[in-house]
Amino acid sequence: MSGAIEFLEPRADVIERRKTIIEDLADFLPPDALIHEPRRLVPFETDGFISYRRLPLAVVLPRNTAEVAAVMKYCHRYGVPVVPRGAGTSLSGGAIPQEDAVVLCLSAMSRILDLDYANRTATVEAGVTNLAISDAAGPEGYFYAPDPSSQLACTIGGNIGMNSGGAHCLKYGVTTNNLLGVRMVLVDGTVIDVGGKALDAPGLDLLGLICGSEGQLGIVTEATVRLIAKPEGARPVLFGFDTSEEAGACVADIIGSGIVPVAIEFMDKPAIDICEAFAQAGYPLDVAALLIVEVEGSEDDMDAMLKSIVEIARRHGVKVVRECQSAMEAAAIWKGRKSAFGATGRVADYICMDGTVPLSQLPYVLKRTAEIIDSYGLRVANVFHAGDGNMHPLILYNANDPQDAAKAEAAGMDILRLCVDAGGCLTGEHGVGIEKRDLMRHQYTEVDLRQQMAVRAAFDAQWLLNPSKVFPLEGRDA
């Protein structure tokens, strides 16, 4: 990667006091909750956005809210930046530290505190993984709905930080729609509780503001989330179309028909070829676009919904229709899609974009994306959540060629600008992080950004929390 994204200049006074800071932290943290030897800091130097890396000053792994509060109180008092971290799966660099920062890693706080089935809530520590909640509640017939691709590893604290989505949020919403309460440590170590098991919380919607704030407003240490009764069954159908336009129009019609599928996934020709070569899912290779539409419910319900959906697809000239009669066939349909990122990684290096566009703009944005990629002499594979317009173009490049890498980064920025210009936004579920920070002025006016930063300052006036992220570095104090 080109290394074009800048970080804040490390605070010299903090770097100078590194030894004292580590000694002080060691005073109130148990030995296994503090990491400071450079060799052991390396695993924390980056996250899922691996093109950028910085060694932190130290890493702390508190075991409870009181220890988090003690760390925050100390860092606030001495002006030490703090970068919160869950499992480090961020695709936008949200957890990448810097030389003057203490990484506050919540992974040691991984207890499920309460599963309340009568009220359909789970209360968990921030380091509990997304999938662990569904695994724990599964035997009783419940699940936690948001399902980011990294759900095996990513933590609920990280999900709240990024307001994570997933393939199934078309029906159930993203993290913010499934979060009922948090315990949060403010920058000065104050602990607050927001919300709880009631459906709505009093006062200003702090929960809505905290969700997706990318670790800049405080440290969430516990969360109460909604559980939902598991559907009787789920079944996908696969459609192949001759053009992306037909597939895009079909998506809009399904959404408008009154049927709410749980997922509508889109793959273009390059993505189909890559996934089929890797997973041998039996995808048709003579089509330009694939849709995987999944419905949920009883057998009868699913039969009826799929019948209507197939009728809609036929109106849009669908070429291949693959319905499935067994769990094995259903798994085969999903196998290719679920291996998309891994399969692409075997063919080339790639960067994954995350812009969202209005459904009516999908065909136009796909066409323009292809033109942009062509103009840079690169290749792109499109795999994305079509039901809500959340695009994931994978830009293929060669990471060993700095020129190629710079081109890929530039093409990615062009595509994100395209998404905003088409009425959409820079990021649907991955977050701004450092990756999209410098494009924020393309989506927001100076006034919009100033207002967001003023609200941010109500939580952290000194820019101690995850300071190099989200907001462009220049003009912050204006």
Partner: protein, 397 residues
């Protein structure tokens, strides 16, 4: 309120707010005035001059409207396209005795939701984007018109439900859903509050997609559907969707609940009326002198709270949201301290005084008092949007 202004466009809104900020004059953004927030601000600024649906593409299920657009107009246009607001906003006019036309901006500014909030989310969950004028007179845009958007701080959620204390909302963009083609209501007759709570939890544990779960104790049941519900308390469950699917799920739910008590069913027209009456708390529309609370707690705590209150004072209540939303009418005194203490003891939640005689309204905080740390944080947030404190001072904290 001593005066009222009716800006005709965004420019006039900005000019009014700038001069108010300069003069230190407090202002209350106002829609149709049907939700009567008892602002102490000197001047009301009405949104009724800012009307019209500015963008609507039914295939995308997203609408943009000026804040002062009447809710009735929004709902009529949606209905003509087979769509609706999923969160079923309550009409406050019956319980408050107000007149006028609710506006779409008011619905989001007060985060007004109804029975379907249990599974479809609140108004704030449907709100995708807003334009508002902050306390400096700056026009700020937040969010957009796409369903998934995590770009920057979510000021959309912050402004939703802020009741005109943070800014003047001029335009809203929200998602809508298709109107279900069929609706059926399953009724269990004669349950006490505790058994009703168990029945509601059972229904919500099943994969039958209940879209409304309410319990109407025997004291109120006669005031729903003009007294047409079966004798005794009614615990009611709404199922919506494609016709054959609703029929199949009704059968399944009936089988699962029949051990609780005798089951009845309500078809389409009665269902629509019943759930509208639950939404609007119509049993409490007649005795408007009596204090009315809206209490939000964990669903299983609702009936316990009622037990505690009944020993102490004269109350009448019914439950929505699986038992977690209680409409509570006090026979005499609002009993604010006792009520709020009991809520805390039962695991937390909050109580909003929706209606009370004027002298009581003045003496009792309508909204749940916040912990000192949260109150201080909320005050800093307000100051970051409204540094001169001109928007509805003191209304929320």
């Amino acid at each position: 309120m001593t005066s009222q202004r009716f800006p005709a466009n965004l420019k006039e809104v900005v000019a009014i707010i700038r001069s108010a900020a300069e003069a230190g004059m407090s202002i209350a953004p106002q829609g149709g005035g049907t939700r009567a927030d008892h602002s102490v601000a000197e001047t009301a600024i009405s949104t009724t001059g800012l009307t019209g649906i500015t963008a609507y593409n039914p295939a995308e299920m997203v609408m943009t409207a000026q804040a002062g657009t009447p809710l009735s107009e929004v709902e009529a246009v949606l209905a003509a396209n087979g769509q609706m607001l999923a969160f079923e906003p309550m009409d406050h006019r019956p319980v408050l005795g107000t007149t006028g036309e609710p506006t779409i901006g008011g619905v989001f500014a007060a985060n007004v939701s109804g029975p379907r909030r249990l599974t479809a989310g609140a108004a704030r969950d449907s709100l995708l984007g807003i334009t508002f004028v902050n306390g400096l007179g700056d026009v700020v845009k937040a969010g957009g018109r796409v369903m998934k958007n995590v770009t920057g701080l979510d000021l959309v959620k912050l402004l939703a439900g802020s009741r005109g204390t943070l800014g003047f909302i001029t335009e809203v963009t929200f998602r809508v859903l298709p109107v279900p083609r069929a609706t059926e209501t399953v009724v269990i007759a004669g349950l006490d509050d505790a058994h009703a709570t168990a029945a509601m939890a059972t229904a919500m544990s099943l994969p039958v997609e209940v879209s409304g779960a309410a319990h109407l104790p025997f004291t109120v049941v006669g005031r729903f559907l003009s007294g047409a519900l079966p004798e005794g308390a009614a615990t009611v469950f709404r199922l919506e969707g494609l016709p054959h699917s609703v029929a199949a799920r009704t059968e399944k739910l009936t089988a699962a609940l029949s051990a609780f008590g005798p089951i009845h069913w309500l078809g389409e027209p009665e269902s629509h009326v019943l759930w509208r009456e639950i939404r609007d708390a119509t049993p409490y529309a007649s005795a408007r002198a009596k204090p009315l609370w809206r209490v939000s707690v964990a669903p299983t705590a609702g009936h316990q709270l009622m037990n505690a209150l009944r020993l102490h004072t004269g109350v009448d209540a019914f439950y929505d949201w699986q038992g977690g939303l209680i409409w509570l009418q006090m026979e005499a005194d609002p009993e604010a301290d006792f009520l709020r203490r009991a809520i805390k003891q039962l695991g937390g939640g909050h109580a909003t005084l929706v209606r009370a005689p004027k002298h009581l309204r003045k003496a009792i905080p309508a909204f749940e008092p916040e912990s000192p740390a949260v109150a201080a944080l909320s005050a800093r947030i307000k100051a970051s949007l409204d540094p001169h404190g001109i928007f509805n001072p003191g209304l929320m904290g």
